[in-house]
């Protein structure tokens, strides 16, 4: 009787949620409430859905995501601080049929690596960049980033940041050889779904050889913002969104047709 019952139930069961194949089983070291983990999951799901897991190579940054190359069940390496786009260029140029992805924080991409990202984008290097903008240097304990908001207090701007943040998506979108540059946010499920779609489009643009693609993701750092996880998500909405509007900054014609 019980057996029959069990059979009946299982046959109607459907998997609605599971670990993406492209994520490794390893627990991550991210703080509770940090959206780095959400970004990882979205990228892994996208790789699975596009059947790219076995041809993808991830270049991890220096920053809180330094271990990202271990968190994905794909080939990966870890670049010097800011140099991921240059390493990705080397990886991609010698094997153009592979999918090469960099995953970079805002200090990594917009400060020390500003030269490398700018030139990779200017060359139209067909790589995909996942850009985690949390307006702070997470790993080193909360110093000012080039994306820190005007007036934002950090451990290295204790009286509030003087100056304006660098808006990388806006900056790179003017380069003619970029294919797809968008900003999304990870502060609530609706935005997270849109972020996932953008990652899918960026990867498809790379696969089609259309040029440089970047998805900027507004991300939380509850630890260094000194907020609870829930407050941190509110902080993104309230303080980051007005300065870093989500939107499509560059969608090349060929990408629209994908």
């Amino acid at each position: 009787m019980t057996d029959l019952l069990l059979e009946a139930t299982t046959s109607h069961m459907e998997t609605v949620y599971c670990m993406p194949q492209a994520l490794s089983a390893q627990p991550t070291h991210y703080c509770p409430g940090c959206t780095h983990g959400v970004a990882h999951r979205l990228l892994a799901e996208a790789l699975d859905e596009l059947n790219m897991r076995e041809r993808a190579i991830l270049v991890a940054p220096v920053g809180c995501a330094v271990f990202a190359y271990q968190y994905f069940e794909i080939d990966g390496c870890e670049a010097p601080h800011g140099r991921a786009p240059a390493m990705a260029t080397g990886l991609k140029r010698v094997q153009p049929d592979r999918i090469v992805i960099t995953y970079q924080g805002d200090g990594d991409l917009a400060s020390i690596g500003a030269g490398e990202i700018l030139h990779a984008a200017a060359r139209g290097e067909p790589i995909t960049v996942i850009f985690i903008n949390n307006a702070i240097y997470g790993m080193t304990g909360g110093q000012m980033a080039p994306t820190s908001l005007s007036g934002q207090r950090t451990t290295s701007s204790p009286f509030g940041r003087v100056g304006e943040p660098l808006r990388m998506s806006e900056l790179l979108a003017v380069l003619p050889q970029t294919a797809y540059i968008v900003r999304r946010s990870l502060h609530n499920p609706a935005h997270i779904r849109k972020a996932k779609k953008a990652i899918l489009t960026a990867l498809k643009a790379q696969e089609a050889g259309l040029g440089f693609s970047m998805v900027e993701l507004l991300s939380s750092c509850p630890t260094n913002w000194g907020l609870s996880p829930a407050e941190a998500l509110e902080w993104i909405e309230k303080h980051m969104l007005p300065v870093f509007p989500v939107g499509d900054y560059k969608v090349a014609e060929a990408v629209k047709e994908l």
């Binding site: 190579i57 990966g76 140099r83 240059a86 260029t89 080397g90 990886l91 140029r93 490398e116």
Partner: protein, 354 residues
Amino acid sequence: MSRELLKGNVAIAEAALRAGMYAYFGYPITPQTELLEHLARRMPELGRVFLQAESEVAAINMVYGAACAGVRTMTSSSSPGISLMQEGLSYIAASDLPCVVVDVMRGGPGLGNILPSQADYFQVTRSAGHGDYHPIVLAPASVQEAVDLTVLAFDLADQYRHLVILAADGLIGQMMEPAELPPMRDLPAERPAYALTGAKGRPPRRIASFYLQAEAEEAYNLQIQARLARIRQNEQRSAEYFTDDAQFLVVGYGTVGRIALSAVRQLRAAGVPVGLFRPITLYPFPEARLRALAERVAGILVVEMNAGQMLEDVRLAVLERAPVHFYGRMGGAVPMPEEIVGALRQLLPTEVLS
């Protein structure tokens, strides 16, 4: 194969691609620019990768990426550009990856000038990036040797999975000499077992340069040290001239080695028993052979186009076996054979001179 008249930089470039270099990334700087320019034409002709990077910082990291993908890869530069590459060199070394870097040394410090120099000896043998390691460093004294050592550089890099620097000075890069190029090698059909090619039908491969735990990082350092010990054991290379019966020894590498040979020949013609020891590997320094020679000579003169950098390695090799003296020129000044003869005449004991 026949000999042709070749400029050093061009010869190195052509030798590199014939040795199987699949990807080159570089940034213009005198006196090595012809190397980059030659490859700008030749690599696309062969369907291989040539890219002018936005900086030496980017160039070395592109090399890092290509090395991760398991192809033979190279960059070239001159002194200030090599300074900029140090971070990348250290990461590459820490990732056990092979690659070749050509340094056509020029006068420094600072921007310096574009004239020949050997002032990067410390930079290439000691401080090519942070951390405990040394690249293998090869120092050619002629265009032909530059060609041969370029091929050797790729082979040693692969054999040890280690960084190899070809340290040529501006004279070697700029001069034209007859040389024979190596035959064109086929590219390997397969990538090495560490290459990041996509985890198709196999577990993922990962390349990184760090361990957070002291024990793991130390264990890894010990592996590098073991590799360096093997390199020191097997790869010391040098050339000798008139050393059989020499009572006084000149030590010089690269261009200086060749100028010193003229000086030694002049003195030999006058019946003075001097010899020349020319290191070909700067790391590993050919200490075993030099030490043996030091047992039998009355003194040693080290000549360099710097303020005395290899001098330290000579002293460490020789210890108290023989007095070690130094003659150097700096800032792009090249010593003439007569200067070396003059320096030797002042040092030679009267019984050797007469």
